[in-house]
Structures are given as structure tokens and as C-alpha cells.
């Protein structure tokens, strides 16, 4: 066999193998081609086996030529293998495709809700904590003494009657407990148990025997109390203005203090905020209307005395407002009654997301 012949054979062999490599449609076929060419009995291996019978010169030339073929084939197979892997992967991925537009179940953290009353209580805590107020609490089932007498409600006074009190039956000692009609008994308890200076807010459930469109027999109040040696009406005005600005998240509020009457404060005032009611929506910091929001005053000397505080040494002020009411004003619920009906449609709509914890740093409402 001439050199030329054998060179031509090699070329034919190489091109046949490369065609077979290119034609291999999967890894198994490619492996068969590899074995057919490079395996022990493969066509390229057979060529290599012929080298042993050749003269050193022939071997040198033919060996180089066959090795070129071997390398070319090896490389072609490797490349083809990479391509086939890629094709196989693409095919697999194509077969694994799903409809990602299918809805997933609503996650728990998205469906859970905090009641507006709880949210507003957290907002109050955030604002007043910054001003150095603690949160004081007390029992709902109260003594007449703490709910009325110590707060300077004389026995039989019409002001007592205005409170529409829920009573329990008298016990064996003739003591008749009641459901607190305001959170003021918590102020009494605080003053009896703590020496001035005092700064507390008292949020909680309160009860009055009254039920109509705008009243429920149970509602929520927050009161504030400051007792020290200098706290005066001007400080009270400042606190209430700062509170309203922070709570309603407006840069300015205009407030109107109207002289009023509460047995436990003297002087006493009711406070209105200026607002607009255009389109049924209440906005603060603008408008011509007035909206009553809270009652307040300087703590009555009799109350201080009843709680063991000398009214000539200490003085202070207190205020109180409805949590449900300020929640309605801020968040726009039109009616009070649904607050206590546990209708999931209302709660989901007016409630707050679990992680929206109000802070001054992050903002009260998100």
C-alpha cells in the first residue's frame, strides 16, 4: 500500500468518523461511535496497531498522521458530547416547564390582621413613651370608691347618673362593684401607689349602659396623667397639640379649648380640633369645622387629696379620649358597632398587617 493510499484511507476514515460523531443524536450513539473508532477494536485503534509492522521511517510519518486523526476524533467526540448534554438539558427543562401564573395560596403573614383598636393602642404607646409616659392598667371590675368617690363624684350627684353605670349585685358586705365607666380609676390607683412625678397613660376597656348608633356598651378609652410641682394648663395644651400632630400625622393642628365640667378636674375643658369635612372625609389642619376629640383639665384638689397627694405642693393635669373614636377619625371607619362584631370582611379591610408595628422611627402608619 502506497503512502498516498494510506493517507487517503486515513482521511476517509476520519471524515467517516466525524460524520458519525456529528450524526450521533444522543450520548449512547456517540459512545458507540467512540468505541467504534477509539475502542480496543476501533477503526483508529486498528490503524495504530499497524504501526508495529512498519519501518521506523514509515512509522514516524504514519504515526503522526494517525495520531492527528485520533486527536481530531477525540476532540470532536468531546465537543459533540458537550452539545448533546446541552440539548438534553434544554429538552429536560422544556419538559419541566410549568404555568407560573397559577395562583399560590395566600401566605399567613398576608392574611392575618391586627384590630384597629390594638394598632391605635400601639401608636399611643409609641408617641407617649417618647414623652416619658408609662402605661398604667387596672381592673375592669372596679370599686365604686375608685370609679367615683375618690374622683370627686359626690354620692347621688347628677354627674354620676350621666355615666350609665353597669353594676354587679352587692356582695355579703353590701359592697356593690361596677364596671369602670372610664379609665380614671387607674389614675387613682397610680396616684395611691406612686409618688410624684407621675407621667402615665391609661388605655383600656370601659363600659356604659348605653347602646345606639354611636354608642356601644363597651368601648375603649385612653387617659393621661401628669403630676409634678409645676405642670400647668399651658403644658397640657402643648402635650395635646403634639399628640394630635403625631397621631394624625399632620404638620399643624388648630385646637379649641372650651371650658366644661368634669368632677375630677378644675378647671375642666373639652377640646375640639379644626377640620374640614369636604366630601365626607375628615381632614385635620384645614377647614372651618370643629370636631370634639377629648376632655381634660387640671386635677381637682379633692382628687389629689383623696389620693394622698398635697394639692398645695403638687399639681397636674389629666385628659381622656375614646380610642375607638380617634381610630375612626384617623382611619375613616364610618360606624362604631362593627368594631365589636368580628366580621372577617370588616376586620380584613380595616385591620393592619401583622408586622406593621407602629414606631416613631419607622412611622406610625405604613
Amino acid at each position: 500500500m502506497s503512502d498516498l493510499e494510506s493517507m487517503s484511507d486515513l482521511e476517509t476514515l476520519q471524515s467517516e468518523i466525524l460524520s458519525a460523531v456529528a450524526a450521533a443524536s444522543d450520548e449512547a450513539a456517540l459512545e458507540a461511535v467512540r468505541v467504534g473508532a477509539l475502542g480496543k477494536k476501533g477503526t483508529v485503534s486498528a490503524k495504530l496497531a499497524t504501526l508495529g509492522k512498519m519501518s521506523p521511517e514509515e512509522r514516524k510519518t504514519a504515526g503522526a498522521a494517525i495520531n492527528v486523526v485520533k486527536d481530531t476524533v477525540t476532540s470532536a467526540i468531546a465537543n459533540r458530547r458537550t452539545v448533546l448534554k446541552q440539548i438534553a438539558l434544554e429538552a429536560r427543562l422544556a419538559s419541566e416547564t410549568v404555568d407560573v401564573t397559577l395562583p399560590v395560596r395566600e401566605p399567613a403573614a398576608a392574611t392575618g390582621r391586627i384590630h384597629p383598636i390594638s394598632q391605635v393602642m400601639d401608636e399611643l404607646a409609641a408617641i407617649f413613651a417618647d414623652m416619658g409616659f408609662s402605661i398604667a392598667e387596672g381592673p375592669d371590675v372596679e370599686q365604686d370608691d375608685y370609679n367615683f368617690t375618690k374622683l370627686n363624684f359626690p354620692e347621688g350627684h347628677p354627674a354620676r347618673e350621666m355615666h350609665d353605670t353597669f353594676f354587679f349585685n352587692p356582695d355579703e358586705n353590701g359592697q356593690r362593684k361596677l364596671l369602670r365607666t372610664h379609665t380614671s380609676p387607674v389614675q387613682v390607683r397610680t396616684m395611691l401607689n406612686q409618688k410624684p412625678p407621675i407621667r402615665v397613660i391609661c388605655p383600656g376597656r370601659t363600659y356604659r349602659c348605653d347602646s345606639d348608633q354611636t354608642h356601644t356598651p363597651m368601648f375603649h378609652q385612653v387617659e393621661g396623667l401628669v403630676i409634678d410641682k409645676t405642670a400647668h394648663l399651658g403644658n397640657l395644651k402643648w402635650i395635646l397639640e403634639e399628640f394630635c400632630k403625631a397621631f394624625f400625622e399632620v404638620p399643624n393642628v388648630t385646637m379649641r379649648f372650651r371650658p366644661s365640667f368634669f368632677p375630677f378636674t378644675e378647671p375642666s375643658m373639652e377640646v375640639d380640633i379644626q377640620c374640614s369635612r369636604k366630601g365626607g372625609e375628615i381632614r385635620f389642619g384645614e377647614g372651618e369645622d370643629w370636631l370634639e376629640i377629648l376632655g381634660c383639665g387640671m386635677v381637682h384638689a379633692n382628687v389629689l387629696r383623696n389620693c394622698g397627694i398635697d394639692p398645695d405642693e403638687y399639681q397636674g393635669f389629666a385628659w381622656g379620649m375614646g380610642i375607638d373614636r380617634i381610630a375612626m377619625l384617623k382611619y375613616g371607619m364610618p360606624d362604631l358597632r362593627p368594631f365589636f362584631e368580628a366580621d372577617v370582611r370588616w376586620l380584613s379591610h380595616y385591620g393592619f398587617r401583622p408586622l406593621d408595628l407602629p414606631t416613631l422611627a419607622g412611622g406610625l402608619t405604613s
Binding site: 347628677p158 395644651k237 402643648w238 372650651r258 380584613s348
Partner: protein
């Protein structure tokens, strides 16, 4: 308290506008609740003349009127009133006028082909009377073009103020005028009341018949007869005022008592002397005594109530309401005028007990000016003689008119101390004087004598209020309240407050929705949940299903599930964090957290879904919620035991009790008992938990925030599985505990991964498969060492639970 502007001006000399007066009233604490100004409301209704009224060409009952309204051109109006006629004068309203009686705005109309450009009005259409029968027919001299209410002198605005219970002086127009004059709105008019000279002795005597301890019930009682009166209707001016404030004129004598009540805050009573038998006795009622009162109702009295009686019996309920039998009517010839003083507390209680609210009670229970007792009788005498004629008797006074003198030592600096407002000395003193206080002394400390009409003013702070309310609270400047300590704000929440907030957030993060339910529930539901104690039952519940304080949050939540299910929302998750009541003592009020899930409301979602429908909720959903909340509170699970079973409202076989030792049960979880759901009329499954937050052990107070050192082994952890066959009654917790105790140093975790009962497992047994994680600490374990540990675990579980290793 209602009054009209002209009435006020009887007592107040002022040129201030209605608006200025109202603004001042609110500013000084007499809050204006409403102003009804007919002149503003009815300004478009004008006097007009019907030039010609012709029959409508196409309607029998209608007339086409050409109306002269004072404008250049007459206006054509179609009118349906039977009395519309040529030449008459009436009231016309043009197109665009709001018609209060019809609650509509008048539009241009074409009535049966004839154009109509306005309306001729009836009294009812202006809400001035109930007269619907025809249009107003005005006198011939009514001036065309003038506003009708001005012409008819009906333009007196009615002001209603909200009175706080401390201001009896402002229950009369005179007192309101005094307050306004003090605030710089005009000058108070004095009305000297001259006593009438008695022409004869009062023929009826009065005895105050009280034991010594009861004398305060009726300190004084003034009485006078006016004989020979003619009692017809009261004059138009008085009727107009009474009607304006919502009172129905009756006859002159009765109207006079009502008028003085509102004019001076001084209630009076008049008896028809002919209907009084013998003399009058003021005394406590006898139990069971009855009176037919002026409201036409018969009241049965008790001895708490004070009455005025004659020889026949009770003629009047003192300070509250007179009796029908001795009341004055048109036939009254001789009238007895009563002006008395009563004990405010007693009137308040009697009125409440009898359920009678009257203008007299309203004033007496707030405290009447004692000094006006006799002048009140004299004022009434004048009015009676002016309006009804007659001749007065001598005035008799039983008892003694008290003369309370309240002198307050008042350092004028109290105003600055309590309000921060600095005012000149003169302003303070002048304000008090204008309000009727007497001020003595020249320095900073003065003595102030309180006028008899201000029983509410007791001490220094009351005087500060008087000065500041008249000065205007708007003059008090806002002054920042300094921080108590110049530091970053310190935490303020107690452990329980913090846990309450965390519990809410944690439960909401479980997909639950927070409810706020009533603190009171029905008695049978309270009993069903372990409550219903007599000391927690309200004496005066607002409704029978809100009668008892709740012993648990669960009944409120379960009831809410029912209401939502009735609206078609059967898969709901609700929670509440709030107070429950285990007794009436202060410490018996506990803070609890509870949650319920109904239907298929699982943590992962509810209802049908392409990825697989949710199954019905069960006890483990409730347990998961409880554990999630406790975890969020940072409660270490070690030391807390889960004991099977719970209270009677839970399914006995599908409930558990959470406890730190047998004495500290913190709560329960489980599926609701079928009988409870039936009682609530609920047909979806419900599970839930309730934990008493203040029973959960408090976290240990740590001196340092540094966390303990973390020990991470460098050797690979490995897992071994064991399947045990045990009696069905054996608790998984016991198996886990036994496995854990076998080799504490190597065990990093145990878990139950399979429970199986059925084929291959003997009756009454179950297979519990657990996986154990071993964490080598010093070296990799050899097979032999692993086998040894496995052997220990099997031995321990077998010993503790009677288990056999499944083959």
C-alpha cells in the same frame, strides 16, 4: 337649655350679633349646640299679593295666580290651595327656595300645561305650624316684598346650649346674660322685683312635717294666694317664646310658671285653690301612696319621695311634677303660687326612681339659688296680676331660706400656678365681680365670697376656672413639658404589656384575624365555659345575652365563627387577646390570648386549591398556633408539659393542657366539643386554644445581654430510625422523652416521622417511627459505637413504654 335672642336681650343690653354671641357662649363654656334662625332659614319667603286668581284651564282644583312680589313684573304661580283668591295677601317663595316642610328645593314647573314660577305657602311648608289646610292668609296691611318672618315677628333665633351639670345658674336666661356680660358681651340688665303688698292673709297654711334628720329635704316653702284671677291664654309674646323653646302653651298661670323656670332658672308650681282641701303639708310620701300627675300618669310613691299634700292626699311631687287634681285651668279663680327649695340629691333620686324628667327636676337637682326663693314668688305674683288680674295675699314662708356663705381665701397667683397664664390683678378681680363674686382685700391674697347661685364653686381652683374661662382659654400659651430625664426614651412596657403586643403580632402572623368581642356574654354561655358565678353577673345588663362577665375568650370567638359561617364564611381564623374574669377580685381578672380556626382554615390556606384541597382543621392546628405564640413570647418549651385532655368545652380525646407543673396550668388547646358547637348552632368543625398570658412564667431577668457560647461540633451528624410497636394509649411524648434520656451527650434531636395502625399491627397497638439525630463531639463514631447507642435507645424506650422494636 334653649332660649331666644330677644329673650336674652331682655336681660342683656348688647348690640353684639347673633354670631358674636354664639361664639362667646361656646368660649365661656356654655357650648352652643344649635342655632335655629328662622330669619336665615326662611329669608326667601316674602309677603306677596295675589293680583288675580283664575281657574286653571285644565284642572278643577288648581288656580293660576298672578302674584305681586314687590318686583317689577308679577309672577305666575299655579296653586292648589282652596283659599287662593284674587286680592288676598300671602307668602310667596320663588324658584330655588328650600322648602323645609317638604324637604325639597322648589323648581320651575309646568303644571298641566301652565308654567309655575314659585309657590304660595302654608304654615306647614315653612315648618311654622301644622296647618296644611291652605295657604297663609295675611292681613290686608301686610307689606308686599317684606320677608315674612320679619313681618310676622317670627324671626327670633333660638339658641340651644349644652349645659354641664355644675351650672344651675345658667338654667335661666338671666344667668346666661350674666356670664355673657362678664365676658364683655353687653351689660347685664337689673330687674328689681318689688314685693307685692298682701291684701289679706294667705288662707292656706303650709307645714313642713319632717323629723330633725330630714329637715334638709325641704328647707323653705313660700306660698301666696292671688284671688280673683282670670285664667285664659297667655299673651302672644309669651306663647311665642315658649313655643320657640319647644314648650306647649297651656294657660296663663301654667305658662307663667314655665316662663319663670326658663327666665330665672326658678321652677314654680301653681295650685287651683278651689281644688285644695284644707292646708298644705310637705312631708315624705307614705309607701304606696298614689298621685295622678300632670302628665296624665299615675305614680306609686315610696317614702324616699317628698310630696305636698292636703287633707285629701298628695297634690304634688315636690320639685318634680304637680298633680292633675289641683292643677290650674280656665276655671281657676284663686291660685296658690309655690316657690320652694328642695334637696338636690333627693330630687335627683326621686326623679330617677319615678322615671320623670321635667324642667323643674332638671333645675332642682342641680341646685337652685336659695336667695331667689322669695323673689321668685314675687316675680310670679307680678306676672299673674299683670296677665290674669287678681289680688295678692300676704306671702308666707314655711321653714327658713338658707343663706350659705362661702368665703374662699384666694391667692391671685393661683391663676398662673395652675394655667401658666399671667393676667393683671385688676382683670382677675373685675371678672370675679362681674360674675357676682365679692372680692375683699388689697394684696395678692384676697377673700372671695361666692354668690348664692353658684353652689358649684367650692375652692381656689374653681375661681381659677372662672377667671380663665371668661378670659378665654385661647390666651393660655402652649409650653413644652420638659423630659423628666435628659436621656433617650426608656422602655415603658411591663413584661405583660410587651407579651400582649407580641402575642397579637405572632397570632396575626399565623394568618389569624384579631377580633375584639364583648367582655360580657350570656349566662348559659358563661356557665358552659366555666363561669357564670353570681358575683360576675351584672345587676343591670343592657341585654339578656350580655349579662355575665366572660370567663374565657373562647365563647366570644366561637360565636363569631358562627356569625361568619352564617354569612358564608365558613373557613375563618380569629384570635383575641384580652381580659377574662375568673372572679370579682382584682387579681381574678386575667390577660388571656385565644384563637380559633374553623372549617379548613389551616395555616397553609383554606378551601380547595389546584395544589391540593385543605383538609379539615384539627387539634394540631390549634396546638401549632399555641406553640407559635409561645415561641414568639420567648417561652422555653423545656419544662412545659403537654398533658392529654382539657376542660369540658373541648373534645375529651382531642385536647391538651399546657402546664408548667400541675399547679401552673397556662392553657388548653383542642377541637371544640361537638355538644358546644351544637349549643352554638355551628355546623363547621372548630379548633382553638386559650392561654392565660399572665400565668406564663416571666423570663429570667438577666444581668447581661451576652448570649451563651455556641458549641458547634466539627463532626458530621448522623440519623438513625427506629420503629416501635406500643399500646395505642402510649403518648408519643413519652417515647421521645425515653429516647432522649438514653444518651444525652450524643443526642441532638428526636422526631416522630410516622404513625401507623392497621394491617400488620396487632389490634390495640400502633407503630411509632422516630428518627434520632446523633451529634459526635470528639470523634467520628464507629459502627460499633453507633450500634451501642441504638441499643441503649431501644432498651430505654422499651423499659419506659413497654414498646417492642418493629421487625
Amino acid at each position: 337649655m334653649k332660649f331666644t335672642l330677644s329673650w336674652l336681650k331682655d336681660h342683656l343690653d348688647t348690640s353684639a350679633s347673633l354670631e358674636e354671641i354664639c361664639e362667646a357662649l361656646t368660649k365661656i363654656g356654655l357650648e352652643v349646640e344649635s342655632v335655629d334662625d328662622p330669619a336665615a332659614k326662611l329669608k326667601d319667603f316674602i309677603v306677596a299679593r295675589v293680583i288675580e286668581a283664575k281657574q286653571h284651564p285644565d284642572a278643577d282644583r288648581l288656580r293660576v295666580c298672578m302674584v305681586d312680589t314687590g318686583a317689577k313684573e308679577p309672577v305666575q304661580v299655579v296653586c292648589g290651595a282652596p283659599n287662593a283668591r284674587t286680592g288676598m295677601k300671602g307668602v310667596f317663595s320663588p324658584v330655588g327656595t328650600y322648602i323645609p316642610g317638604k324637604d325639597m328645593t322648589l323648581g320651575k314647573g309646568v303644571i298641566r300645561g301652565v308654567e309655575s314660577n314659585g309657590m304660595l305657602c302654608s304654615g306647614a311648608e315653612m315648618q311654622l305650624s301644622d296647618d296644611h289646610d291652605g295657604i297663609l292668609d295675611l292681613p290686608e296691611d301686610a307689606p308686599v316684598g317684606e320677608i315674612y318672618v320679619e313681618f310676622a315677628k317670627l324671626s327670633d333665633p333660638v339658641i340651644e346650649i349644652g349645659l354641664t351639670p355644675n351650672r344651675p345658674d345658667a338654667t335661666g336666661v338671666h344667668g346666661i346674660a350674666r356670664d355673657l356680660a362678664s365676658a364683655g358681651i353687653g351689660k347685664l340688665k337689673g330687674h328689681a322685683i318689688k314685693p307685692s303688698e298682701g291684701k289679706f292673709p294667705c288662707p292656706v297654711s303650709v307645714t313642713l312635717d319632717f323629723a330633725d334628720e330630714d329637715k334638709h329635704l325641704a328647707p323653705a316653702f313660700a306660698l301666696r294666694m292671688v284671688r280673683g284671677v282670670t285664667n285664659s291664654t297667655s299673651p302672644e309674646w309669651m306663647q311665642k317664646r315658649l313655643r320657640a323653646i319647644g314648650l306647649r302653651p297651656i294657660n296663663a298661670l301654667v305658662d307663667i310658671t314655665n316662663y319663670v323656670t326658663f327666665d330665672r332658672g326658678r321652677p314654680l308650681h301653681v295650685f287651683d285653690a278651689a281644688k285644695v282641701t284644707g292646708n298644705l303639708v310637705v312631708r315624705r310620701a307614705k309607701d304606696g301612696e298614689k298621685i295622678l300627675a300632670l302628665d296624665g300618669k299615675t305614680y306609686e310613691l315610696a317614702s324616699e319621695t317628698v310630696v305636698i299634700a292636703d287633707d285629701k292626699g298628695v297634690e304634688s311631687i315636690a320639685g318634680i311634677m304637680g298633680g292633675e287634681e289641683s292643677g290650674c285651668d280656665e276655671s281657676t279663680k284663686d291660685v296658690l303660687i309655690e316657690s320652694a327649695l328642695w334637696d338636690p340629691m333627693n330630687i335627683a333620686r326621686s326623679g330617677r326612681d319615678l322615671g320623670i324628667i321635667t324642667d323643674a327636676r332638671y333645675r332642682f337637682e342641680r341646685g337652685i339659688d336659695p336667695a331667689f326663693c322669695v323673689p321668685g314668688a314675687e316675680l310670679a305674683t307680678h306676672l299673674v296680676m299683670d296677665l290674669c288680674g287678681g289680688e295678692p295675699s300676704e306671702l308666707i314662708v314655711a321653714g327658713e331660706v338658707p343663706n350659705p356663705v362661702n368665703r374662699i381665701e384666694f391667692p391671685l397667683g393661683e391663676v398662673e400656678r395652675l394655667t401658666g397664664l399671667e393676667l393683671p390683678r385688676e382683670e382677675k378681680i373685675e371678672t370675679l365681680q362681674k360674675l357676682g363674686f365679692t372680692v375683699e382685700g388689697t394684696g395678692n391674697n384676697v377673700a372671695v365670697t361666692v354668690p348664692t347661685w353658684r353652689p358649684d364653686v367650692e375652692g381656689k381652683a374653681d375661681l381659677v376656672e372662672e377667671v380663665v374661662r371668661i378670659a378665654g382659654v385661647d390666651r393660655v400659651a402652649s409650653v413644652p413639658l420638659a423630659r423628666m430625664e435628659a436621656t433617650v426614651a426608656k422602655p415603658i412596657l411591663t413584661v405583660l404589656q410587651r407579651r400582649t403586643s407580641q402575642a397579637r403580632r405572632a397570632l396575626a402572623a399565623q394568618g389569624l384575624v384579631e377580633a375584639v368581642n364583648w367582655s360580657f356574654i350570656s349566662k348559659d354561655r358563661a356557665e358552659m365555659f366555666g363561669g357564670g358565678k353570681p358575683e360576675l353577673a351584672l345587676a343591670n345588663p343592657i341585654a339578656s345575652d350580655l349579662s355575665d362577665m366572660r370567663p374565657s375568650l373562647m365563647p366570644g370567638l366561637v360565636a363569631a365563627v358562627g356569625r361568619n359561617a352564617d354569612r358564608g364564611y365558613r373557613d375563618v381564623g380569629l384570635f383575641e387577646v384580652g381580659q377574662i374574669f375568673l372572679g370579682a377580685g382584682e387579681r381574678d381578672q386575667r390577660q388571656a390570648a385565644a384563637a380559633v380556626r374553623s372549617g379548613t382554615a389551616k395555616l397553609a390556606g383554606s378551601g380547595r386549591h389546584w395544589a391540593g384541597a385543605s383538609k379539615s382543621i384539627d387539634v394540631f392546628d390549634a396546638k401549632t398556633d399555641a406553640m407559635a405564640m409561645l415561641g414568639a413570647l420567648g417561652v422555653a418549651a423545656q419544662g412545659m408539659a403537654v398533658v392529654p385532655g382539657g376542660p369540658s368545652w373541648l373534645h375529651p380525646g382531642r385536647s391538651g393542657t399546657l402546664q408548667f407543673g400541675p399547679k401552673n396550668i397556662i392553657g388548653h388547646f383542642g377541637e371544640l366539643h361537638p355538644a358546644v358547637l351544637e349549643a352554638f348552632d355551628i355546623d363547621v368543625p372548630v379548633c382553638g386554644f386559650e392561654i392565660i398570658l399572665d400565668a406564663v412564667p416571666a423570663p429570667r431577668a438577666k444581668p447581661t445581654k451576652v448570649k451563651p457560647k455556641l458549641d458547634m461540633s466539627e463532626f458530621m451528624a448522623l440519623e438513625r430510625d427506629f420503629a416501635f410497636i406500643v399500646d395505642r394509649s402510649v403518648n408519643a411524648a413519652d417515647i421521645l422523652r425515653a429516647a432522649q434520656s438514653a444518651e444525652r451527650s450524643l443526642l441532638a434531636g428526636v422526631n416522630v416521622f410516622d404513625i401507623y395502625e392497621g394491617t400488620g399491627i396487632p389490634e390495640g397497638k400502633k407503630s411509632v417511627a422516630i428518627s434520632v439525630t446523633l451529634q459526635p463531639r470528639e470523634k467520628t463514631l464507629t459502627d460499633a459505637e453507633i450500634e451501642a447507642v441504638a441499643g441503649k435507645i431501644v432498651a430505654e424506650v422499651t423499659k419506659k413504654t413497654g414498646a417492642t422494636l418493629r421487625g
